[in-house]
Structures are given as structure tokens and as C-alpha cells.
């Protein structure tokens, strides 16, 4: 029995995904669990494995195609098996693509498919007939319905580009999004035809969302530099055609998002960084005790990073203004600490949020952070946790790379981010006029000066350092 492979839905906000790579070819034998293809949303990348064993009978979309979630992308079964029924469903999507690409005067089936692809009510031709009948339209014969479906198809064909990627938004919602700094690209429209309406913006703002302005979109590298030198005009060296061999690689979706977000962060906030360091003796000795097995209350996997994060969470609980979003005309403070953590993955930087990090013991915190990092690396993270709005504060640790200080970039609309640095030894007065070298861990706090002033930010940083120096974990 052949089985359809569908494009999974990754999170509530995801409507479509792009197939990045087919890992199996049509006609190839696959085993259940074999990776079939890679795909990505605008937030994250994923791999899909074969749900059953068999032959990859049909591959319906190519690499780079944007596919609606839950749409059939491939069929696995036995060679020679009749897959028409499965294909019929799938061809709906494929034909829709063809129709939308400009093939006027399709059949009724095509027309209905067009309607489906355009996200219009209607369904299949049969559906259309049924609907006309259900609506009690006098004289609503099947022919009528087919004619109307054809009209829908004509409309779809007339619309340039892909209907699915068009953002429908009401003027009111657009204005609200601007005022509330909500990124409409991340908002799912609940209005007619997927139109983003005021309620959606309100909801997005409530769950936290932020703006990416058109200005940044156009300055995120899409501007085309002069590729070839025009005779008689002066070219800067960088614009000149390089003579050396080089490789151009299209940005992945994730790279684009990172690029946009980073630039947006710098463009749209007043961020600056304070650097300090904390006496690390206590956390080092705790780490030692855990390793040696003398501290049984904590799992052996507990890291220095976990402890510093724990200290940061403790400080955030006492400093709500730092555990906050800046929303233009309002600040939003959170009762829980939703700790974002920068994770280096093969596909690029991801920042998943650990919800309610303040409720965890040190051990639990460490375990959960590791789980989050793993799911990012494996591409199975819930995309909703990757939204900047999901976190209330972020931590980025570059200590392992020997970095002594850096200026982490804010994950807007969050108001603060801490960079954890490497441990260095610093001279310190040991009493009695003796100078000794004490291990210190560097802490870099970037904060949004729009939301918080220098003194309170410094006080918060002091508090973090003190919490590290006098580390007292919740067990």
C-alpha cells in the first residue's frame, strides 16, 4: 500500500516550507527512518525521514520549491503500484502551480485546483458543485459551479507571482503593527482569505513580536552592486570584477533571517555594552565537587554555563525592568524569566527560549538548556520557541572560544543580552597587602538604553556578578 509523504507543519505560524535538498532520488529504495529531504521555514531548518519503507515512487516538488504544509511531496510504495488516488490529491497541488503560472482555460479540475491553491474557499470541483447546491442558489447547476470555478481559476491565473506568499493585511492592522512594532511577516492572518486583521496584531503584540521595516529589508544586502566595470567609470576596488576564482552561494533562509534581525537590532535600538567580571572561585569549586562526585545534589553534566545562567536568572527575577520587551510606546515586563540561549548550529545561529527558566533548579535548568540546544542542532525545535518574542532575556556564551569580552547584539524586542566570556586570572587584594591572582569570569551586558538607563543596568550587572561570586543555587 503506497503512502504519501506530506510536508510537515512546523508550528502554528508556519504556512509554507521550502525544500532545500532531496536526500533520496525517485526510484530509490528507502527504509523507514531514512532521511528523505531537508526543508526550512523562515525560522529554522529541518529534515524529514521516510515514514515507511519502500520505493520512492514519486517526487512532486523540486529543491527550492515552496510547498504548503500538509501538502503531499512524495509517494513511497511498491513499483507498479497504482498511486493514482494519492497522486490525484497531490496533482491538485501540482496542477495549481501550473495554472497559477498562467495557463488560462483549464479544465474544471484545474480550476478547482486553482481555487485551492489560491487559498480560496471552494475545494474541488465536486465541492464547488456541492457548495452551490448547499447555498440554495436557484438555478445553481453543476455547470454554474464549474463556470464559477473557472472564473476563480482565471482570477488566480491573472494574479502575478505566488498567491501564497502575498501578505493580506487590513489598513488598520498595518497601522497598529507599525505603532506596536509588530513584524507582520511573522503574523498569521485570521481574517477572511488569511487577511491579517487588528486582532492578529493585538495577539502578536501580546505574545511579543517585533518589527522588521521595509527599509531594513532593502538594506539587508539585496541591493545589487555593479557587477561589471563600465568602461570610463571609476570603480572602487571592491566593486571591480574579481579576477580570482570565487564562489557565490545563495543565502539560506536562516542566514537571511539572521542578517535581517541583526541589522534590525542595530538600526532600531540604542544598544550599548558594559563589561565586568565576577569572582569565579565558588562556581569553579562547585564544578570541581560535581566532577569529583562530592556534590551529589547536582547531575554530573552541570556546567559552568548552567551556573552562570542560573545566577543571571536569579538576578532577572529581582530586576523586572531587565526581564522585559521594549515595544515603542510601552515596555512589557514578564512575571517569568524566558531565557533565550544562543546556540551554534551547522545551519547558523539559533536562539531558542527556555520558558519560565526561573522555575527550574540548577540541575533542571542545565538539562533543559541542553535539550533545547540539541533540538536546534537536530532541526526539531518548535519554531515558535525561536521567535524573538518567545524570550525575555538572552544569554550568549563565547567563553569556550577564549573570548575575553564582546558586545552581544540584542534580540529585539528584548531589552538585554549577556555575553559570557572566558575565565581569566586577575590580580586582587587578598588582604594584608598581598596581591593574588583570582579567576574571574567576564560578563558583557548589552542593554537597550531606550528602555533602561546606565545606572540601573550597571546595578543589574553588579547583581549578576555578585550572584556568581556568592553562588547559591536552588537544588
Amino acid at each position: 500500500m503506497a503512502e504519501a509523504v506530506v510536508m510537515p507543519r512546523q508550528g502554528q505560524s508556519v504556512e509554507t516550507c521550502v525544500i532545500t535538498q532531496w536526500l533520496k532520488n525517485k526510484g530509490e529504495q528507502v527504509e523507514e527512518g531514512d532521511l528523505l529531504f531537508s526543508y526550512e521555514t523562515d525560522k529554522a531548518a529541518f529534515d524529514e525521514s521516510a515514514p515507511v519503507s519502500g520505493t520512492l515512487l514519486e517526487v512532486l516538488y523540486g529543491e527550492g520549491d515552496e510547498v504548503s504544509v500538509l501538502q503531499t511531496v512524495a509517494i513511497i510504495g511498491e513499483p507498479g503500484e497504482d498511486i493514482a488516488a494519492l497522486l490525484g490529491d497531490a496533482v491538485t497541488g501540482a496542477a495549481a502551480g501550473a495554472t497559477a503560472a498562467g495557463e488560462p482555460g483549464g479544465t474544471a479540475t484545474d480550476a478547482a485546483a486553482g481555487a485551492t491553491a489560491a487559498g480560496e474557499p471552494g475545494g474541488t470541483a465536486t465541492d464547488a458543485v456541492q457548495e452551490a447546491a448547499a447555498a440554495g442558489e436557484p438555478g445553481g447547476t453543476a455547470t454554474d459551479a464549474v463556470q464559477e470555478a473557472t472564473a476563480a481559476e482565471a482570477g488566480a491565473a491573472a494574479a502575478p507571482g505566488k498567491q501564497a506568499s502575498r501578505t493580506r493585511i487590513s489598513p488598520r492592522a498595518r497601522n497598529m503593527a507599525e505603532a506596536m512594532q509588530v513584524d507582520i511577516a511573522s503574523v498569521r492572518g485570521s481574517g477572511p482569505n488569511g487577511r491579517i486583521i487588528a486582532d492578529d496584531i493585538r495577539a502578536a503584540a501580546a505574545s511579543g513580536s517585533r518589527e522588521i521595516t521595509a527599509a531594513q529589508a532593502s538594506s539587508d544586502g539585496r541591493t545589487t552592486p555593479a557587477a561589471t566595470g563600465v568602461p570610463g567609470t571609476r570603480q572602487s576596488p571592491t566593486q571591480a570584477t574579481p579576477t580570482e576564482p570565487y564562489t557565490d552561494r545563495l543565502l539560506s533562509n536562516i542566514r537571511k533571517i539572521i542578517a535581517t534581525n541583526m541589522k534590525a537590532s542595530l538600526d532600531n535600538s540604542a544598544q550599548l555594552t558594559h563589561h565586568a567580571s565576577a569572582d569565579a572561585r565558588k562556581i569553579l569549586s562547585l564544578r570541581k565537587a560535581i566532577k569529583e562526585g562530592t556534590e551529589q545534589r547536582l547531575p554530573g553534566s552541570t556546567t559552568l554555563n548552567d551556573m552562570v545562567c542560573h545566577a543571571i536568572v536569579q538576578a532577572l527575577v529581582e530586576t523586572p525592568e531587565m526581564n522585559a520587551h521594549f515595544l515603542g510606546d510601552t515596555t512589557r515586563t514578564f512575571s517569568g524569566v524566558h531565557l533565550g540561549m544562543a546556540v551554534d548550529t551547522p545551519r547558523g545561529l539559533m536562539v531558542p527560549a527556555l520558558k519560565n527558566a526561573d522555575r527550574y533548579t540548577l540541575g533542571g535548568l542545565g538539562k533543559s538548556l541542553r535539550e533545547l540546544a540539541e533540538s536546534c542542532k537536530e532541526g526539531r525545535i518548535d519554531p515558535d520557541l525561536l521567535l524573538p518574542e518567545a524570550g525575555s532575556f538572552t544569554v550568549s556564551n563565547l567563553g569556550a572560544f577564549g573570548i575575553e569580552m564582546f558586545t552581544p547584539v540584542l534580540n529585539l524586542p528584548q531589552c538585554g543580552i549577556i555575553g559570557i566570556n572566558t575565565i581569566t586570572h586577575r590580580p586582587a587584594d587578598m588582604g594584608d597587602g598581598n596581591i593574588g591572582f583570582i579567576p574571574h569570569i567576564g560578563i558583557s551586558l548589552t542593554y537597550d538604553h531606550r528602555a533602561i538607563d546606565g545606572a540601573p543596568a550597571s546595578r543589574f550587572l553588579q547583581k549578576v556578578c555578585r550572584n556568581i561570586a556568592d553562588f547559591t543555587p536552588n537544588f
Binding site: E120, G155, P171
Partner: protein, 822 residues
């Protein structure tokens, strides 16, 4: 249907025959030498002078149109000039017999009548009156211009004033008689008894009857003459006007001084052509137009054909007919035979008649013939008459020079004052009574039986517990209308009301029940089934200075009064340069239950026409307040009422409908229920459908709807709607009109423009289907239902959790319906 008149079957079914008397044809045969004895030489020369003034005036226009100059002065007049060269004796003969208080109404071809009546009035008025008239007309604007160059006496000055005012009007100058807003086909000057000329053929045929009605009801001096063309006998409104004027009730039911026929002459200026169509022999079948009078009433309308080429024959006829009218035996029909030498208009090549025919009439040209008689019988001499001709040429030349001079006679400066015409569309007056005298009523208002009965009604529909009172106990919407109307009948003595079944029946929907007891016939009466004349006469009554409520029993019958509602009623205030006021309320009842020709909401048709105020109240409180405002005003108001809700009680105004007088300003919508999620703007009775929808939204979907009742369509203050939208961002506009081209669509468009940035969805119109209205049992598929409104919100504005639609609002459906035109 008065009970006083018994219809006896024996008599009605008895054998008999109708006999007709004789209708005189050109009966006047008094030789000039005998006739001249009844006139002074001065009079006879004046007749000649007046004809010659018209001839020269129109020759000037003809030369301007055909050669671009007159007496060496170049001018281009792109506008119309329908000339009556050849018809002068008809106009002058009529005017000579009329007094200042006799009022004439004209056609598109009435320059001659304006000048003839004006010259006649100038002759009759004393200097003081003349100066007063000229001073008062636009603060003496035209007088200031003509007095600079006039060296003669007041009458000479007034003649200059008349020629100049008419010509400046024809040339669209702000100093013209009507500020240049009327022009050639509409010029008039009421102080000389010249009432509006009318560019619609036969347009004066019913309007003039209203003016005669005004004279009769308000006991004013004088008669009314409708100067209309022979071809207008083919127009429905003319027949309707004749029917109205000839109603038996003037003699049988009207009482006292008001008893008797209307002082009305239908004077058909029979130049024997309707444009190029020959009325006798081609387009009509009456043989002689005067024959038509025979069929109208037993008096055969005192019909006569008279020779309009002999001014003395015309004077003789008018003198005799005035006597008929003085004896209250009107109306009268005159078939005044004449002929125009010029074409219908300057573009007319006269391809429909021969040169020989024109020349034959020129051979008997009335002016030349009359001059021959004057000379022959030594009334005047060739030399004197030549000198008179020369003087007239000078007068006309002077009027032309003044009126084409852009500095002396500028046009309205719309560039500098862009709203100038806009400000003239309505008079926006507030007048208790159009005349100060005691009203004719039959009892004190307190004793009126319905007034008494209303004292015991519940003026708010619900009791303390929110339960509705019984229909019998409830003060209803029709009571609100009644209270406003009877109040005005006791305030304004000029107020009259009429329409079909208005008197004993109390109006088809009992709005007038009880009025009959208070009012004599001449203030409340049944009209013929002539919607054109019902509105047309109301226009004439209003422009003469009276206040009137005319009733169109079903909105569907508005089409029958199309020209009156679309072309006449809205336009005369502004076309007159604001000299005329139009305190006319047309009550239009919107039906239901009776199918395709008795259930339509045609509000959009009237709202489309500039110059009409349009209201559609839906509650007793609003109905009374708006009717008071309409009756206090001086503008034409189309007052829509819905037959669905004549019996509805007051559900919104918690204090109940006040017993005393109050006005609701026309143009102000009303928030009937506050809400925050979606605005529903309703027109007319659909308010109650909107209430139903709002209840469903609240109970089933936790959506709070703000209900706004438009109340008025024109004017309309959008500010409260925009305010509401700032809150809700969403709007449904609903009403019972067929959706396409409805006023709801107009509102949707305007709202989109004004509040686009507030909108969370496009404004959605929920109107009736673009079908015939089906039978009552199927009406729920035609008129907007609460479920449709909820569906529309779900489909177009805000998806409702768990809602299942019963109607199709998809884009495909809208496209398909539009493609099919349904």
C-alpha cells in the same frame, strides 16, 4: 371617496348618451375699425411696441447664434436659444389681458412671454412699486447697471431692467434675473408675474396647476396661465395636470369661498410643430388641439382655438376666459394658433417644412399686419413707428452691450468661490408659517379625536419590566408622523396635504387618520391617481409661497413622478438664483408584501439627484422629530417611511416620544446602540434587522456591535460613523434597497475614502438582491436578514468562531453575480 356622495346604481346604469357642445375655432371676427374703439391709441401702439421689442430681442439672439454679431457687435453665445420669432402676437395678446397678479408659467420657448408679461406689468405698476421691485432684486444689482445709462423715466428704466435682466440671464451672467443659473430656457421674474419657464416639454403643465391651487386655497388674486406648446399635449404630466385641475371636488366638495373651479388656463401656444414633428397630421390625432377640452369635463374646459396671429383676438379671448375663471368655472383650455419662422433651435435646418410654408406665414406676419392696420387707421404714422422701431433697436443694443461686458456683467466666480453653487442648492430656512394668518381648521387641536386618543398611548414601547405594551396601547411610528403634521396644520395656514386616499381613508396607512375631522377639504384632499401631478402641483404650490405635503403611496410609484421628482422639485431653488423656496415634503411609503411593484426601496434614486433632502426615519421619535424638521424647513424633502414599521413603538429613546414639539436635525445619524467590535449602519426599517443581527453577534459570538441608524441620506454627517469606526474598525452597511447602485454603496465608498486607515476590513454592504421583489412568502430570500449580516461579517470582516454560513459571500459569487447582472 366621500360618503356624502351616493353612487346610485340605477342612475349609474341608466341608458343615455354623452353630447358635446361646440368648440369655437378662430371665432373672433371683429373688424379692426370696430375693435380699435375699445382701445386707446397708446394701447394699440404699445401692443405694437411690445411685439416689436420681442421681435428685435430674438432677432438679436438669432443673429448672434447664426452670424456671431448684432449691429456690428460680436458675441459668441454657446448656450440655447429657442426662439419664437413669428409668435409675438400670441405672447403680447395674452400679456396685455393679464394683470400683475396673474402668473404665467412657460416653456423652453418663452423669451417672448417673459418680455410681454414684463412690459405689461411695467405698464401697470406705479413708479414707486417698480423702483421697489428693482431695488429689492438682489439688492439692486441689475438696477445699478441699467440706471447708469438710462436717461428716461422709471418705466423706461424698468424696460431697460427687463431687457437687461433677461438677456444677462440668457448669457449666464451673475447679474441676470436668476444669477445666470437658469439661462434661456428657465429665465423668469416673479415680481412681474413671470414664473419659471421650463425646459422639459410640458413641464409647466402640472406645476402651474399647483400655483392655481395656491391661489385658490390661500384666496390670492389673479389667475395662472400655463404657456405650453402644442406638442406637450402628448406628455403625461400635462394630461395629469389637466385632470387635477378639472377635479369635480372643487365644485362638489370644497366649501365657501373655496368652492369652484381653479383659476387656471392651459394656454397651448400652438406653433404646430413639436421640434420637427407636425402635431396636426403627424404626431397627434386631435385634428384641432382645442378638441381635447371636450373630453375633460362637461364644460369642455371652455375650450377654443383662437387666432394667435391677431393680438386683438388673443386679448379678446383672454378677457372672456378671465371672466370664466372669475366665475369659478375653470379650468380653461386655449389653443392659441401661431407659427414660428425660426427653427426649433439655431441648429434646426427646417428640413421638415417647405420654404413656401414659412413664407406664407411671413406674408401674414402679425407684426407687419398690425402695423399696416395702425397706419391705415391712422392710429400712428409710419414715421413714428419707424422711430419707435429705431428706439427699440437702441434698447436691445444697449442691453446686449451691457450684458456681454464681462466687467459690468460678470459670471459667477466659481474659481474664487468654489462652493457658490453648492451653497445655493438648499435654502435651509427655518420658518414656522409661510404666511401670518389664522389657519382654516374645523376644531381646536385639543378636541381632535386622534389627539385625544394619543393621550392614552404609551410613548415608550416597553413597560418597567421591559415587556412590550400591546399594539393598541403603544404610541406608534404613524402617530409620530401624525403629531408633527397636525401640529403644523395648526401653525401654518398655507399647509395643505394631498395624495391618493388622503382624506376619509386617512391615508392608506392611517397616518392621516383624524386629520379629516380637523381640516376642511381645501387643506386635505384626495388627488387623482396622478403621481406626476401630485408632485408637480406641490412644486407649483411651494414655489408660489405655500407649504405642502404630497404623498406617494408606494415608493414604486415614484417612477410615475419621475420628471417632477428628478427635474423639477430639486432644481428650482438653485435655478432661480435662490429667489424661490421650495417647502415641499414628499412622503414616500416603502412597501413590502405586495411583490415586485409594491416593495422597492428607491432611496438611492432620490439621493442621487442634487437638490433634494432625503430622510428615512425608523423610530417614532425620529419620525416625529424629522417630520417637524422637514415641515419647519424651506427645502424639498423626500420623506421615506416603511410600511413594515408604521405600527412600531419607540424602543430606543428611553424617555419616550415627547408630547411637545422638537426637531431632529436632518442629516444627523444616530447611534442606537453602543458597541466596540463592529459598526452596523442601517438605512430605514432595516434598523430592526440590524438589532437582530447585533443580538446574535452578542449572544453567540461575544461580538459587540454598534448600531447606527442613518436616519437621513441627504445631507449626511459622516463624522459619527467615522468616530464609530475609529473604535471598531469594521462596518456593515445595510438597508432594504437592491444592493447595486444603492445608497449603501455610496456610503461604503465614502467611508472607505474617509476612514481607510481605520478599517480592519472593507466596508461590507448587506442589501437586497438585485432581483424583482418576490412574493411575501419568499421575501426572506430577497431582503437582508440578520443571518446575512452575521454571515457577511464572518466571511468578509471577522471570522466568527464556530459560525456556519447560510449565504454565499465569496468573491467568486460576487464576481459571478455581477457578471450575470443579478
Amino acid at each position: 371617496m366621500p360618503k356624502s356622495q351616493f353612487i346610485d346604481p340605477a342612475q349609474a346604469r341608466a341608458k343615455g348618451k354623452i353630447t358635446f357642445g361646440e368648440i369655437p375655432v378662430n371665432a373672433y371676427d371683429i373688424p379692426f375699425e370696430n375693435a380699435m374703439k375699445h382701445y386707446s391709441s397708446e394701447q394699440l401702439v404699445r401692443i405694437y411696441r411690445d411685439m416689436q421689442v420681442i421681435r428685435e430681442f430674438e432677432t438679436m439672439l438669432n443673429l448672434i447664434k447664426t452670424t456671431g454679431e448684432y449691429q456690428g457687435i460680436a458675441y459668441n453665445h454657446p448656450g440655447p436659444a429657442h426662439l419664437s420669432i413669428g409668435q409675438e402676437a400670441s405672447a403680447v395678446g395674452m400679456a396685455h389681458a393679464l394683470e400683475v397678479d396673474d402668473h404665467i408659467f412657460g416653456s423652453h420657448r418663452s423669451h417672448g412671454e417673459i418680455l410681454a408679461k414684463g412690459l405689461s406689468a411695467i405698464h401697470q405698476l406705479d413708479d414707486k412699486s417698480l423702483m421697489g421691485i428693482m431695488e429689492r432684486h438682489f439688492d439692486g444689482a441689475a438696477l445699478r447697471i441699467v440706471e447708469k445709462t438710462n436717461k428716461g423715466d422709471v418705466k423706461d428704466l424698468a424696460i431697460d431692467f427687463l431687457l437687461y435682466g433677461t438677456l444677462a440671464e440668457i448669457f449666464a451672467r451673475e447679474t441676470g434675473f436668476n444669477k445666470g443659473l437658469g439661462g434661456s430656457m428657465h429665465a423668469f421674474f416673479t415680481p412681474f408675474g413671470v414664473y419659471p419657464n421650463n425646459a422639459i416639454v410640458g413641464g409647466s403643465g402640472d406645476i402651474a396647476v399647483g400655483a392655481a391651487l395656491y391661489k385658490k386655497v390661500n384666496q390670492k388674486n389673479g389667475i395662472v396661465v400655463a404657456n405650453i406648446g402644442d406638442a406637450s399635449m402628448g406628455c403625461g404630466p400635462v394630461w395629469e395636470g389637466i385632470s387635477f385641475a378639472a377635479m369635480d371636488q372643487f365644485r362638489t366638495l370644497w366649501e365657501g369661498a373655496h368652492q369652484g373651479g381653479l383659476p387656471m388656463i392651459f394656454n397651448f401656444m400652438n406653433n404646430q410643430y413639436g421640434m420637427g414633428g407636425q402635431t396636426r397630421g403627424e404626431t397627434m390625432g386631435y385634428d384641432l388641439l382645442a378638441r381635447v377640452g371636450a373630453g375633460v369635463n362637461p364644460e369642455m374646459m371652455h375650450s377654443e382655438r383662437i387666432d394667435g396671429y391677431d393680438p386683438l383676438a388673443v386679448i379678446d379671448a383672454f378677457n372672456r376666459k378671465k371672466k370664466v375663471l372669475a366665475d369659478k368655472k375653470g379650468p380653461v383650455l386655449l389653443d392659441t394658433l401661431t407659427y414660428r419662422f425660426t427653427g426649433h433651435s439655431p441648429s434646426d435646418a427646417s428640413s421638415y417644412r417647405t420654404k413656401e410654408e414659412v413664407e406664407a406665414w411671413q406674408q401674414v406676419d402679425s407684426i407687419r399686419s398690425f402695423r399696416t392696420l395702425l397706419e391705415k387707421h391712422k392710429v400712428s404714422s409710419a414715421g413714428k413707428l419707424d422711430a419707435l422701431d429705431e428706439k427699440i433697436r437702441g434698447l436691445v443694443k444697449k442691453a446686449m452691450e451691457l450684458s456681454i461686458n464681462d466687467e459690468i456683467s460678470p459670471r459667477m466666480d466659481i474659481t474664487r468661490q468654489p462652493e457658490l453653487i453648492g451653497e445655493m442648492m438648499f435654502s435651509n430656512g427655518s420658518v414656522d408659517a409661510m404666511e401670518d394668518r389664522a389657519p382654516d381648521v374645523l376644531m381646536p387641536i385639543e378636541e381632535n379625536p386622534r389627539v385625544v386618543a394619543l393621550k392614552n398611548k404609551e410613548r415608550f414601547a416597553l413597560d418597567k419590566d421591559g415587556k412590550p405594551f400591546s399594539k393598541v396601547k403603544t404610541y406608534q411610528l404613524r402617530d409620530g408622523l401624525f403629531e408633527a403634521i397636525i401640529d403644523r396644520f395648526y401653525k401654518d395656514p398655507t399647509l395643505v396635504a394631498y395624495g391618493e386616499e388622503n382624506r376619509d381613508w386617512g391615508g392608506a396607512f392611517a397616518v392621516y387618520r383624524g386629520l379629516t375631522e380637523s381640516l376642511p377639504y381645501h387643506r386635505l384632499f384626495n388627488s387623482p391617481i396622478s403621481e406626476g401631478a401630485i408632485v408637480g402641483t406641490a412644486i407649483g404650490y411651494g414655489m408660489s409661497g405655500g407649504r405642502v405635503i404630497a404623498e406617494i403611496m408606494y415608493c414604486d410609484f415614484l417612477g410615475r413622478s419621475g420628471d417632477e421628482v428628478f427635474n423639477q422639485l430639486p432644481k428650482w431653488q438653485s435655478m432661480s438664483g435662490n429667489i424661490i423656496r421650495m417647502p415641499v415634503v414628499i412622503r414616500v411609503s416603502v412597501g413590502s408584501k405586495y411583490g415586485a411593484q409594491h416593495s422597492q426601496d428607491w432611496t438611492a434614486l432620490t439621493a442621487h439627484i442634487p437638490g433634494l433632502k432625503v430622510v428615512f426615519p425608523a423610530t417614532p421619535y425620529d419620525a416625529k422629530g424629522l417630520m417637524n424638521a422637514a415641515l419647519q424647513g424651506t427645502d424639498p424633502v423626500i420623506f421615506f417611511e416603511s410600511q413594515r414599521i408604521y405600527d412600531i413603538g419607540e424602543l430606543f429613546h428611553k424617555e419616550g416620544v415627547p408630547e411637545g414639539y422638537y426637531e431632529i436635525p436632518i442629516g444627523e445619524p444616530d447611534v442606537k446602540r453602543e458597541g466596540g467590535d463592529v459598526t452596523i449602519l442601517s438605512i430605514g426599517a432595516t434598523l430592526y434587522t440590524a438589532v437582530e443581527a447585533a443580538d446574535i453577534l452578542a449572544s453567540d459570538y461575544d461580538i459587540s456591535a454598534e448600531l447606527i441608524d442613518a436616519r437621513s441620506l441627504v445631507p449626511f454627517n459622516y463624522a459619527p460613523v467615522i468616530e464609530s469606526l475609529k473604535k471598531t474598525g469594521r462596518i456593515v452597511i445595510t438597508g432594504d434597497a437592491s444592493t447595486r447602485g444603492s445608497f449603501m454603496k455610496e456610503m461604503a465608498q465614502t467611508i472607505s475614502e474617509l476612514a481607510f486607515d481605520e478599517m480592519d476590513a472593507p466596508p461590507v454592504v448587506v442589501g437586497s438582491r438585485n432581483w424583482i421583489v418576490p412574493a411575501h412568502e419568499l421575501e426572506q430570500h430577497f431582503f437582508p436578514q440578520a443571518a446575512w449580516i452575521v454571515d457577511a461579517i464572518h466571511e468578509k470582516i471577522l471570522p466568527l468562531q464556530g459560525h456556519t454560513v447560510t449565504t454565499d459571500w465569496s468573491d467568486e459569487k460576487i464576481l459571478s453575480r455581477n457578471r450575470k447582472g443579478v
